[in-house]
């Protein structure tokens, strides 16, 4: 008990000393040398110059939240952290991060508008913790889209699909021209799950997957809409020559590189796809993308994962951290994410880099914004990895029927939740 108590001993934030009031500690998800790191470092330097607040910054890399979670057992925590929206929402839900509603009300320096006013409400609505407070302030947006080469699309005599049936008919055209319909790196279960999660969101809406993965009885999986989504997926993976040969065992980045070499028509991937595949792309490759196509009577949404800032619940200088966030959200400073890091910013008034123009249009036209993988992969992480992904792989690799898949998911869900109180 004593030991357990000692492990959780929390340092009191106490009152702000002179040192604390003029210093913030910031741990970042970026590694030194990455374009975003350089942009943030520039902002840190100019922030100190303009405000006199010193920023102790540490570029900790992608595992930054693991570091923060461990540090949260002590009083040695950063004030500010940045990471993916899913990780930050999970951290806010567990009480590691504080709610940021008051930060959204802060004025962006030099603009006379608040953070809430420069960000579209449709994009930020899904960024709340379980208490209903904003968990993060997003600065970069990543979207899952159906990517293709415009030149190849024209070559096979097809147009970008807006419905799933059209997608399957372009698949037939692709196969007739000697290429596969879709590429995928099958050894990454979450990439495989993109297809079924998108189809499920089309059939049943953007919030259904999160509810179903949390259903302790497993009965929600019996919904006819989910069976229809699984059946659609089977139409794709069982289509003769539709999937790139060997996709079940493809090791990242082999599948996406084969796509960039025109061996397959589509790649369902985040908006990092052009940056990741450009060095391998066939000459004349014209990157383009559409939102995952609709299904009859279904619902459209765009799957968005943001990168943003969170403030620790135990932060010693939350005011300074909030000031930095507002400072960075200034249009001229945030523009670097687009112009130098070639990514879409969270502000729609900053133009996306040319290769991601189509993605920014998808965001603007989206009737609803969905969380990455419906939020299910982070809210029910253990279930997602050990039950959903495992069974989805079987369907995606053509090893089971849609009905068999649903049955298996129901029984596996019951078994999982019986051993997870």
């Amino acid at each position: 008990m004593l030991l357990a108590g000692a492990l959780t001993a929390c340092g009191s934030s106490g009152t702000l000393g002179t040192e604390d009031a003029h210093t913030i500690t910031y741990w970042s998800t970026w590694n030194k040398g990455e374009p975003q790191q350089k942009i943030l470092q520039q902002a840190v330097d100019s922030f100190t110059k303009d405000t006199g607040i010193k920023v102790r910054v540490q570029f900790a890399g992608r595992q930054v939240m693991k570091k923060v979670q461990t540090a949260n057992n002590t009083s040695n925590v950063p004030d500010l952290v940045d990471d993916s929206s899913e990780n930050l929402i999970a951290a806010a839900d567990s009480g590691v991060l504080r709610g940021l509603d008051s930060v959204y009300a802060q004025t962006v320096p030099g603009e006379g508008r608040t953070i809430a006013q420069v960000l579209p409400a449709s994009s930020t609505a899904s960024l709340k913790d379980k208490a209903g407070q904003y968990a993060l302030v997003p600065y970069e947006t990543l979207v899952t889209s159906l990517w293709f080469n415009d030149a190849m699309m024209r070559k096979i005599g097809a147009t970008p699909p807006t419905t799933f049936d059209q997608l399957l008919s372009t698949c037939q055209k692709a196969v007739a021209h000697g290429i596969a319909c879709a590429a995928d790196d099958g050894t990454i279960p979450d990439y495989n799950a993109y297809w079924l999660s998108e189809l499920t969101m089309r059939h049943l809406g953007p919030d259904w997957l999160l509810k179903a993965t949390g259903d302790r009885t497993g009965q929600m999986w019996k919904d006819p809409g989910f069976l229809a989504a699984a059946t659609d997926l089977q139409r794709l993976v069982k289509g003769k020559g539709f999937m790139l040969s060997g996709y079940q065992g493809s090791k990242l980045p082999a599948g996406q590189q084969e796509w960039a070499k025109n061996k397959a028509l589509y790649l369902l991937m985040g908006s990092w796809a052009p940056a990741d595949t450009k060095p391998y792309a066939a000459s004349g490759f014209q990157y383009d993308s559409v939102t995952f196509p609709s299904v009859p009577g279904g619902q459209m949404s765009v799957d968005d994962q943001s990168l943003g800032f969170g403030i620790l619940a135990k932060a010693k200088n939350p005011t300074g951290a909030a000031k930095f966030i507002a400072y960075f959200m200034n249009k001229s400073r945030l523009s670097g994410i687009s112009t130098q890091a070639n990514n879409i910013t969270s502000r729609p008034d900053i133009k996306a880099p040319a290769v991601l123009t189509s993605v920014q249009k998808q965001l603007a036209a989206a009737p609803a914004i969905a969380r990455y993988l419906g939020g299910a992969a982070s809210e029910h992480a253990g279930y997602w990895t050990n039950v959903f992904d495992v069974n989805d792989d079987k369907l995606f690799f053509g090893e089971t029927t849609p009905a068999g898949f649903v049955d298996r998911l129901v029984s596996a869900s019951r078994s999982y939740w019986a051993s997870h109180s």
């Binding site: 492990l7 009480g95 065992g249």
Partner: protein, 317 residues
Amino acid sequence: MTISIRRASVLAGGEAKAAAPARKAGSRRAVLLFLLPAFVVYTGVYVAPAIASVVLSLFRYSGTGDRPTWIGLRNFREAVHDAAFRSSFENTFKVLFFVGIAVFVASFVLTMTMREMRARGFVRAVLFFPYLVSPVIIAIVWGFMLDPTRGLVNTSLRQAGLGGLTQVWLGPELIFPMMMTGMGWMFTGFFVTILLAGVDRIPPYYYESADLAGATRWQKFRLITLPLSWDVVGIMAVLWVINAMKTFEFIYAFTGVGTPPSATNWTAALYVYYTGFAGSGQPELGRACAMAVIMLVIIGVLVLLIQRLMRRERIEF
């Protein structure tokens, strides 16, 4: 040293007898003094965390600054009923038995072949090399070699006109056997080196005598090598059990660092890691500790079992 002490005792008579316990006590104090730093470090970095793990296994605790809640043995009960944890244990036992058998057989065959080889120092170095390289690097390289679309294995088969033999090596059926093959390759050199060190101690005239008597290789192995290196084989078995039960890095990195393979391929150590340090979502450190304690108990039982099974009268030579 022994002689001089005896002589001193004789000379000093009763005085020396009285001084002996005092000297012993002084020597014991010196020993304790020398042991103290190691004891402190070992207790601090190993024993204390191990005890903390046992304590935390009885709590619901995420390890993110929350207050642990006492739940008794619930973490253990749930871990035992967790299908994914059981499946990860099955994978661990597959590594333990299948890879273990392959590594031991390969080690014996290679040792017997190398014993009479001229350049065996060089061959031993070559075989040992994979063990020197980080398992993470080896796993990544193996993964790339076996990629079905562009990997070295399928590409070579196609170029050799053996396209019919190409496989989806990293597909759901073959990926775990491929992981086990890679681990076998990595560990064989290490165990050959240990075994050769044991075999090298055996006086050559045993083999010369056996040659004169017309013994076959198998007879030499069964009647000379195995009995005279039995203690080394016992140590190898214990080392293998510990290594196999802790199998982690190779599988973690096989499909790329940061992108773990399907949970169907996880070992118990990997499952413990993802439970305690979730890739996303809420970590469950208390539950992970319970799983780690279960693993510790199983390792302990297996090691004791092996030591009992392999207990033989030591042969002096």
